[in-house]
């Protein structure tokens, strides 16, 4: 056991414990904050793997913006307990358990049957430049289409959220 492994296991432990906290904690804001911790932990694993750009974007987009929006929505609803905020809470517990177990079984199967081979570590000193050239070169159409799609989603969300012209 050497240093890098210890770092990895610490990051993994933080991520998993925080992820468990997201589903297990009774207070909805606590679970949302655990979600932030999960995102940060995942970002740490990205850094550990050398994908620093993805790691930073993970923090910027997920931990910094998306999770904050989730907490924002929770705060606007002003209910502290998960059971209060979700009317279907606790309904269909057993069905959920069965499906979760099926899913876990599938994952274990796929992990077991995949032949894990160690690839050669890529040269990652200039990952950002490569990403830039790929986004603006080979995949520019896909990139732009995704951007237009997101724009449409944002406009749609605004129109839906405004609802009837109340004011």
């Amino acid at each position: 056991m050497n240093w890098p492994y210890i770092i990895f296991y610490v990051l993994a432990a933080v991520t998993i414990i925080a992820a468990l906290g997201v589903v297990a904690l009774p207070n909805i804001v606590h679970s949302a904050l655990c979600l932030v911790l999960t995102f940060v932990g995942v970002a740490g694993i990205y850094f550990y793997l050398g994908a620093d750009f993805i790691g930073l974007v993970q923090i910027l987009a997920y931990a910094g913006a998306i999770s904050v929006l989730i907490i924002f929505a929770i705060m606007l609803l002003l209910s502290r307990e998960v059971s209060e905020s979700n009317p279907s809470h606790g309904r269909g517990k057993w069905k959920a358990a069965i499906f979760a177990e099926l899913f876990a079984f599938l994952i274990i199967l796929s992990i077991y049957f995949t032949s894990w081979t160690h690839g050669i570590a890529p040269d990652w000193t200039d990952s950002i430049g490569k990403i830039a050239y790929m986004l603006m070169g080979d995949y520019v159409i896909a990139f732009e289409v995704a951007a237009v799609l997101l724009l449409g989603a944002v406009i749609g969300a605004i129109i839906l959220a405004r609802g009837e012209d109340k004011r």
Partner: protein, 366 residues
């Protein structure tokens, strides 16, 4: 669709921007104001009841504590009401000095208005500038009466003492510096883009609503009604002075703010004329030591205070104490319009609305 809940917050009575013990129970939908309810009485001293157990002279100092920001105005109104009850004529010199003091009080009050409005919308520096200049008026009050904030300088039939020698240069240099002071306010506040965006088109009070709600003073004139008791029904010697009644157009916060700046100029005009014409002579009419108006006499006397129509309704039963004394407090009635102008605005507008309505809670609660 998810419906969000309303939040009810209590703006005051412990709040930095409510000018004393005002309590505005505010229902918010996010930042939008759904409703405002005004609760009063946190500084109620039952002044009207106290008046019934004080002689007419003893009650004078209580007036200065009504509108403590324009200390001479309520005292002047009260003394004139009693004089009307008695039929006393005040000597010329006393009238002029009263007018000078009243207009200085008005300037002091309006300067405080500008300063507190500035700090209420976040411009901390504006407050200090206005207080620095208001300090000079306070110094002049100290010269004349020995008291800075709650001077009881007015007496029934005149004033307490003649002006001291050092008062004249002080008031002259103050009047000379006033344009520069106003320039400074205009540079710091009036011309400021953010301040204009905050005040323009917020807290709109249409003229008809303003009259129906009994709003008076600069707040009424900001809505475009040229009604100033100094002009409409001149008391004291106001008919001798040449001054304008500035009016606004829309009745929004911006108009109410500008109104104060322009009224400072008009008041300065009056003081200049009064100083020029100031006659020599007596400062107090012969008034009996024990004042006993005739039985059943009553009077409703109103003056244009810095906040609006300040009225005194006094009923006498022939004794040396008023039988009933009612103060028509402009701040009290002006506050009634706060829910109307705040509804539909933003939380930050509410703060600006309270500031531009310029309530003095000592007067509103009495």
């Amino acid at each position: 669709m998810i419906e969000s809940d309303f939040i009810t917050i209590n703006v005051g009575p412990q709040h930095p921007s409510t000018h004393g013990g005002l309590h505005a129970e505010t229902v918010l939908d996010g930042e939008h104001i759904v409703d405002v309810k005004v609760h009063l009485g946190y500084v109620h001293r039952s002044v009207e009841k106290i008046a019934e157990s004080r002689t007419y002279t003893q009650f004078i100092p209580y007036n200065s504590r009504l509108d403590y920001l324009a200390t001479h105005l309520p005292a002047m109104g009260y003394c004139q009401a009693v004089e009307k009850l008695l039929g006393v004529t005040v000597p010329e010199r006393a009238e002029y000095i009263r007018v000078i003091m009243a207009e200085l009080s008005r300037i002091a009050s309006h300067m405080l208005f500008i300063g507190s409005l500035a700090i209420d919308i976040g411009a901390t520096t504006g407050l200090i500038y206005c207080f620095r200049d208001r300090e000079r008026i306070m110094d002049m009050f100290e010269m004349t009466s020995g008291q800075r904030l709650i001077a009881s300088y007015m007496r029934i039939g005149g004033i307490a003492e003649d002006l001291p020698e050092e008062f004249y240069p002080a008031v002259k240099s103050f009047l000379d510096d006033l344009p520069y002071m106003l320039d400074e306010y205009n540079n710091l506040l009036t011309g400021n883009e953010i301040l204009q965006a905050r005040l323009k088109n917020t807290g709109i009070l249409p003229a008809d609503k303003a009259i129906a709600y009994g709003v008076s003073g600069p707040n009424l004139r900001a809505s475009g009604i040229a009604y100033d008791i100094r002009k409409a029904e001149p008391y004291s010697i106001y008919e001798r002075f040449d001054f304008d009644v500035p009016i606004g157009s829309k009745g929004d916060n911006w108009d109410r703010f500008l109104m104060r700046i322009r009224e400072i100029e008009e008041s300065a005009k009056i003081i200049r004329q009064a100083l020029q014409d100031l006659p020599e002579g007596e400062i107090r009419a012969k008034v009996p030591r024990i004042i006993k108006p005739e039985k059943g006499a009553e009077v409703y006397h109103r003056i244009e205070s810095s906040k609006g129509e300040l009225g005194f309704y006094i009923v006498s039963d022939g004794s040396e104490k008023p039988y009933r004394l009612h103060v028509r407090a402009p701040s009290f009635i002006n506050l009634g319009v706060l829910p109307l102008i705040s509804r539909g605005g933003k939380l930050q507008d509410l703060i600006a609305n309270i500031a531009t309505l310029d309530p003095v809670l000592g007067e509103a609660d009495r």
